[in-house]
Symmetry: C2
Subunit: 359 residues, 2 copies
């Protein structure tokens, strides 16, 4: 029986994608071999790769003046990749801290640049984002970095900050493809694939081409955006199986109606679960409503001793991966694109029952 | 119909592995989800990961004082990872140049260290390795780097150089698991997975633990061996699907009888194809017999105009991926562990027929 998997990433994928991958796993479209056995330089795989890029460009309406890269190392790799590609030694960069992933990006950036933390939501216990218009970005900052959605805190920017001429750089790992976004507002968008895009082991980077050519000489070749763009992300052997699977997921998103349709579904799913929490005196979510994530919904029960029973009973009911991140405890439901509304309905039904029995 | 795939990497995988992966792709062993959907922190995936490491340790008889890492970025990533993890700025390192991959490793290392090229086989057109006992490694070298097998030239070290106290570091991407190797002779062994280990997108690194803790402060976290070893290669989200598939391949190698059995099979396959080449006046392989690769067999026909017809006719006969690397032309048969002797027999039969028709 297929469970509803609420893990934060690696995460649930569309069943249709898994079925298609399974059907063609041994013999990819009559080629006599698996897609994972094909040379990345073969015309077959080059087509797979190009189609995935074309689909991503179409879905996100990526302007022509942006390159799209498919690399390895995850968003964590890009925590270093961003300063290494965008700055010279001694440079400064501005960062917004809205949670665990922002904080990790900041720690890593400090290896390479002078970091200005221009807003720090640690005092709010990471329950909101800075007010729109409140950010003051020093003129010496090479870029302004923010984490569009914080997977652990469940905090998402409901607006895009404006840093004027300073390029906006974002880790969009856990919100990419969940709704339309105006790519032209960004200098760089990067996202680990293992939330809305596919399996882990691949990171997508969308870079405005005028930001290329600024890399430090010591950037590792495998992280060099300019060299990778020139080589169509094949300066070294790319993660071909993950790239292919991302392509299938993108095709599925197209078939669902693209990002407008995804946004409608995701809004409905988020309203269902936040509504259940807010109507209850038993469950709570600490995040300011306007900054609540559509993708990751952390919630608490009144007595922490009920957390383990909740997670165990949910698991037994076919609702998997609901334990909160080990750093914060509680519960968390990640409801990415591939989580159907039926899964969220099953979860809120379970929550209602659990409250009746334990409230 | 399944073809015999002679690609250099990504490369053919054992059919039994693909069949098992296909059977459990949607529902991994009754979990109700795909292995690629499982949290990397789940006890199920942690077990998958640990079992793969245990199998690799058993197959290679890795001594306890070595850590085994499963990271992203391929061997190319480690071309930077090696100097970043083993040296301080201003240090020197010794490199042997036996072909295209050595040369790439050297180019990348020059970003970080003063490179002493202690042997350069470019003058031999990369047809051999330095004579045993001939290497003179300067005492200031932090390590001695060599490429155990050169995928493009088809040149493999038939012996292991002795650098005394200086740690031996090797790119073993295209020879790993093809035969037993004495791990204790090395400081570091690294290998991209996409030859004998599984799909692309994963690199295995075997590091003697006393070499940990030497990383430069500016090493990207995703490439930091010490931090990764402490986090069981999960400082960030690992490439879980690739890791699982590597585990299946390792299980398959065990079932075949381990590395002694693989070595017997690989020796027989290599003898079959080199024997065919050497008995012919039509085909040729320029590599010094003692340094011939068991894994990658480049060969030429007398007239370069026959290369395209050869590759096309082979393709039509179900023998795929025989074109030489675009940098050198000619033909190349990669005959990794997963290539059965029947595939090599089919290739030499085809070669004999082609010679009769064109010789």
């Amino acid at each position: 029986m297929r469970v509803y998997n609420f893990s934060a990433g690696p995460a649930t994928m569309p069943l249709e994608v898994l079925e298609r991958a399974q059907a063609e796993l041994i013999d990819w479209r009559g080629s006599g071999m698996s897609v994972m056995e094909m040379s990345h330089r073969s015309k077959e795989f080059v087509t797979v790769a190009a189609q995935a890029e074309a689909r991503l460009r179409a879905l996100l309406a990526v302007p022509e003046e942006y390159a799209v890269l498919f690399l390895q190392g995850g968003a964590t790799g890009q925590f270093a990749g961003v300063p290494l590609n965008l700055t010279a030694p001694g440079a400064a960069a501005a960062y917004v801290n809205t949670g665990s992933w922002s904080a990790k990006a900041i720690d890593e950036a400090r290896k390479y640049v002078d970091v200005h933390v221009v807003a720090d939501e640690k005092d709010s216990n990471y329950t909101t984002v800075p007010a729109e218009g409140s950010l003051e970005v020093p003129g010496d900052a090479a870029y302004l970095h923010l984490t569009l959605n914080e997977t652990i805190g469940g905090v998402e920017f409901p607006y895009l900050p404006d840093a004027g001429e300073i390029p906006l750089v974002t880790d969009a790992s856990s919100t990419m493809l969940s709704r339309p976004v105006d790519v032209s507002r960004f200098g760089v968008i990067y996202a680990g694939a293992q939330k809305n895009l596919g399996p882990s082991g691949l990171v997508v980077i969308i870079v405005r081409r005028d930001l290329m050519g600024r890399a430090r000489p010591e950037v590792p070749a495998a992280m060099d955006w300019t060299a990778m763009a020139e080589a169509d992300s094949m300066l070294n052997t790319p993660p071909t199986l993950a790239w292919y699977l991302v392509g299938l997921v993108l095709e599925w998103v197209e078939e669902q109606g693209g990002l407008t349709a995804m946004a409608e579904r995701n809004r409905a799913k988020a309203e269902l679960i936040y509504g259940t929490i807010d109507r209850s005196d038993f469950y709570s979510n600490p995040v300011q409503p306007a900054a609540r994530s559509w993708m990751n919904v952390p919630f608490l029960v009144p007595d922490p001793a009920l957390e383990k029973p909740f997670v165990a009973a949910a698991e037994a009911a076919g609702l998997s991966g609901l334990g909160g991140h080990r750093s914060v405890g509680g519960m968390r439901a990640s409801i990415y694109n591939a989580m159907p509304i039926e899964g969220v309905q099953a979860l809120v039904d379970f929550m209602t029952d659990f409250e009746k029995q334990n409230g």
